[in-house]
């Protein structure tokens, strides 16, 4: 399976930046605690 191609495909159908960020990290196999830290940081920066 070509996960990377499908991740790119999902990136094109998901418009929300935070959701895209989650998909990217999930596809890269980032650990849950690191995903959470990254999302909180991104929320605090007001980026998403």
């Amino acid at each position: 399976m070509d996960e990377d191609s499908i991740t790119s495909f999902l990136d094109s159908v998901i418009k929300d930046e935070l959701e895209r960020k989650i998909i990217r990290m999930i596809s890269e196999g980032v650990s849950q605690d690191k995903i959470l830290d990254a999302l909180l940081e991104s929320m605090n920066e007001g980026g998403t």
Binding site: D2, S5, I6, S8, L10, L36, L39, L40
Partner: protein, 704 residues
């Protein structure tokens, strides 16, 4: 370079045969086209290559090929050993797969820069993309790419679901941890609760003390009044008994008209006596010390004497006038007219609103009628003392006026009675005069009732240390208490009302105290529990976490439900006409276009923009629309195989394509071109294309 060797021992029952790679060279270039006749060992070579690189552990592998690999590896009639070595163009990477004994495991080792690592199947598939396929029914196989989208979407949906659970466990953890904000809040609540409790206790102490005082005052007054009534009755009984004693032995006969008038007059005088007694009990609080002697004068006016003298004692009229003067001098209700008007407004409003208690009317200020009545009743309480003082003042004045009017009427009745006594003529019907006995009987009945009613105030007074012997002294003390001053004008019923109000107030405060004490206790318990807890790492992010849980849940729903339904409709080719313009379907078509890249059709090569599986079209970047059904089999096979190579995947590819017999040179050329492109980018390690031929022909595809 690909180096391989194998030994396959096959048991035919009557003989065992050994197969070795003797028809195909054991050293092959990385990109190669192999053409060979049947039973030359080309499929065995491909199966060993795929098996050697953990092809059986590849979920997406073509099932027919997987069965062949499994047969080769696990059949009891075959024993296989092999070794395969692959090196990349510059020799920096070497992959080696060995199966040293028929029963032994397949071991894959990767050597990079002289360092060798053993790769488990999972580790291998994370680093290498093994593609082993036969391009049968290629158009239909495009659906496999769509299935891949579905599988990945679902897999991500599941991972996001797990992430949501993780977030929920974090928020639960925070709620079980020390919360500094809540700690401060609890300290504030305890401090406020303690202050409130202190105020409630102070108010309760004052109210309870006052309740005890007013109860003592009320019971003492009740005892005084009942005792005084009893003394009066005894006095009347005494006088009547003396009279009856005096008349003993005489048979009293009177004419009937006189007798009737006597009964009427006695009844009237009795009502006057009640009125006079009521005045006595009401007027006392309005008298100053220097006017107190009027009470004594008033009690000494003997209305019974009127029946002897046939005229009401003149002292009654003069004392009425004297008392009215005293009353006028002591209190003028006009001075409180403003407050009394307000009190009347409240009481009239309450009376009026009581008629509408059951209606659903909401008054301005968002109050129900019940709430508004309760507020009016609370406000009107402040005027209660004043109102009672004014009401009792008016009442005693009214009773004095009434008594004065009664004097005139009584004198007329007495005069008529006197006349009848004198006009009595012989032969007139006479009756026995038994009025005194009847009156005595009535007085004794009253005495029994009053004596019985004395028990209650006597018991209540005894509980408070008040007895007949110290009653006057206690009352003097109580009346000197400033707080009781307004209650001196209250009669017994009014005092009871005031006590009931005070009791309600005390009960309300006691309830409030109980509730507040319980609340403070619970706050203290929670504080103690909180203080024992450790603060949570994400304590300050609780709000963000709640928000995140919701957003993650939405994404999970999107992938697992919304997108899944859409991709299923693409697979089933049953997309609703109205939804065809949905961006999702457009992006699926673009994705398939990217995967296929180029197609050959009618001897021309086209760059693919989109593949619309729903309508069955390939749309090229030049704007041409080619129906999938119009594509030749070889061209479709070519498109499909290229789609397998066109990935964004960073893994190195090992591509093995078998049985491409339906593809001509022109259809195969794009595959070789793609092989070379990927090989030059160091993304392809091996590219092998195999088809059946009459003779063995090995062609390197490293060069165009």
């Amino acid at each position: 370079m690909i180096d391989f060797d194998y030994n396959l021992e096959r048991d035919y029952g009557d003989e065992i045969k050994h197969f070795k790679p003797d028809k195909i060279p054991t050293t092959l270039p990385n990109l190669v086209y192999i053409e060979a006749p049947n039973s030359s060992g080309k499929s065995t070579l491909l199966n060993i290559l795929a098996l050697g690189f953990h092809g059986l552990k590849n979920d997406r592998m073509n099932i027919a090929l997987k069965n062949k690999m499994s047969d080769l590896a696990n059949s009891t009639h075959q024993k296989l050993t092999f070794k395969v070595n692959i090196t990349n163009a510059d020799g920096s990477l070497e992959l080696a797969s060995t199966k040293g004994t028929p029963e032994g495991d397949i071991m894959v080792r990767e050597t990079i820069g002289g360092k060798t690592t053993l790769l488990t199947p999972d580790a291998f598939h994370r680093k290498y993309n093994l593609i082993y396929d036969i391009p049968d029914n290629p158009t239909e196989r495009l659906n496999q790419l769509v299935n891949e989208i579905r599988d990945i979407q679902k897999m991500y949906g599941n991972r996001i679901g797990a992430f949501r659970n993780y977030l929920t466990s974090i928020t639960n953890g925070i709620q079980q941890s020390r919360n500094p904000k809540r700690l401060e809040e609890l300290k504030g609540l305890i401090e406020k609760g303690t202050t409130d409790l202190q105020k409630i206790n102070e108010a309760l102490e004052v109210d309870e003390t006052f309740l005890n005082t007013i109860e003592k005052f009320s019971y003492a007054k009740m005892l005084e009044k009942t005792s005084s009534d009893l003394v009066d009755i005894y006095d009347q009984i005494g006088k009547l008994e003396v009279k009856i004693q005096k008349d003993q032995g005489k048979i009293k006969r009177v004419n009937k008209r006189f007798q009737n008038q006597l009964v009427k007059t006695k009844s009237f005088l009795s009502e006057m006596k009640d009125c006079k007694q009521q005045i006595a009990s009401l007027i006392e609080p309005y008298l100053l010390k220097e006017d107190k002697h009027h009470i004594d004068l008033w009690s000494r006016i003997d209305l019974d004497a009127a029946l002897e003298d046939y005229v009401v004692p003149s002292s009654l009229d003069s004392e009425i006038l004297a008392l009215k003067r005293v009353l006028l001098g002591q209190y003028d209700p006009g001075q409180d007219v403003k407050d009394l008007t307000e009190a009347k407004v409240y009481s009239d409003l309450i009376e009026f609103l009581n008629n509408y208690r059951n209606s659903d009317v909401t008054l301005p200020g968002d109050k129900t009628i019940d709430e508004f009545i309760a507020q009016l009743e609370e406000s009107s309480k402040q005027y209660r003392d004043l109102k009672i003082k004014a009401e009792n003042h008016a009442k005693v004045n009214r009773l004095l006026d009434q008594l004065r009017d009664n004097i005139r009427e009584a004198n007329e009745m007495l005069s008529a009675l006197y006349k009848l006594k004198r006009e009595s003529s012989p032969g007139e019907e006479e009756v026995m005069d038994e009025e005194d006995e009847k009156e005595l009987e009535e007085l004794n009945r009253k005495r029994a009732i009053v004596e019985q009613s004395l028990d209650y105030p006597r018991q209540e007074c005894a509980k408070r240390g008040v007895y007949e012997k110290n009653l006057d002294e206690v009352l003097d003390d109580l009346e000197s208490i400033e707080a009781l001053a307004p209650y001196r004008v209250y009669d017994n019923t009014q005092l009871q009302g005031a006590i009931d109000d005070m009791r309600s107030r005390v009960f309300a405060l006691q309830r409030e105290k109980k509730n507040k004490t319980e609340a403070v206790r619970l706050y203290r318990n929670e504080l103690a529990r909180q203080e024992k807890l450790e603060p949570h790492k994400y304590q300050g992010h609780l709000q963000d976490l709640h928000m995140l849980v919701n957003r993650v849940m939405r994404l999970e729903q999107k992938l697992s439900v919304d997108f899944d339904n859409k991709i299923i409709s693409v697979i089933d080719k049953r997309v609703d006409k109205k939804a065809e313009n949905d961006e999702y379907y457009e992006e699926v078509a673009k994705y398939l276009g990217r995967r296929v890249g180029y197609v050959r059709h009618l001897d021309e090569s086209f760059k693919v923009s989109k593949i619309d599986l729903i309508r069955g079209n390939i749309i090229t970047t030049s704007g041409k629309t080619i129906r999938l059904t119009d594509m030749g089999t070889g061209q479709s096979q070519s498109a499909y195989l290229i789609s397998l190579l066109n990935t964004d995947d960073k893994r190195k590819i090992i591509a093995i394509f078998d049985e491409v017999a339906m593809m001509d040179k022109l259809s195969l050329e794009p595959i070789y071109n793609k092989f070379r492109e990927l090989y030059e980018q160091d993304r392809l390690l091996v590219g092998i294309v195999v088809q059946k031929g009459d003779s063995t022909n090995i062609v390197s595809k490293l060069e165009a």
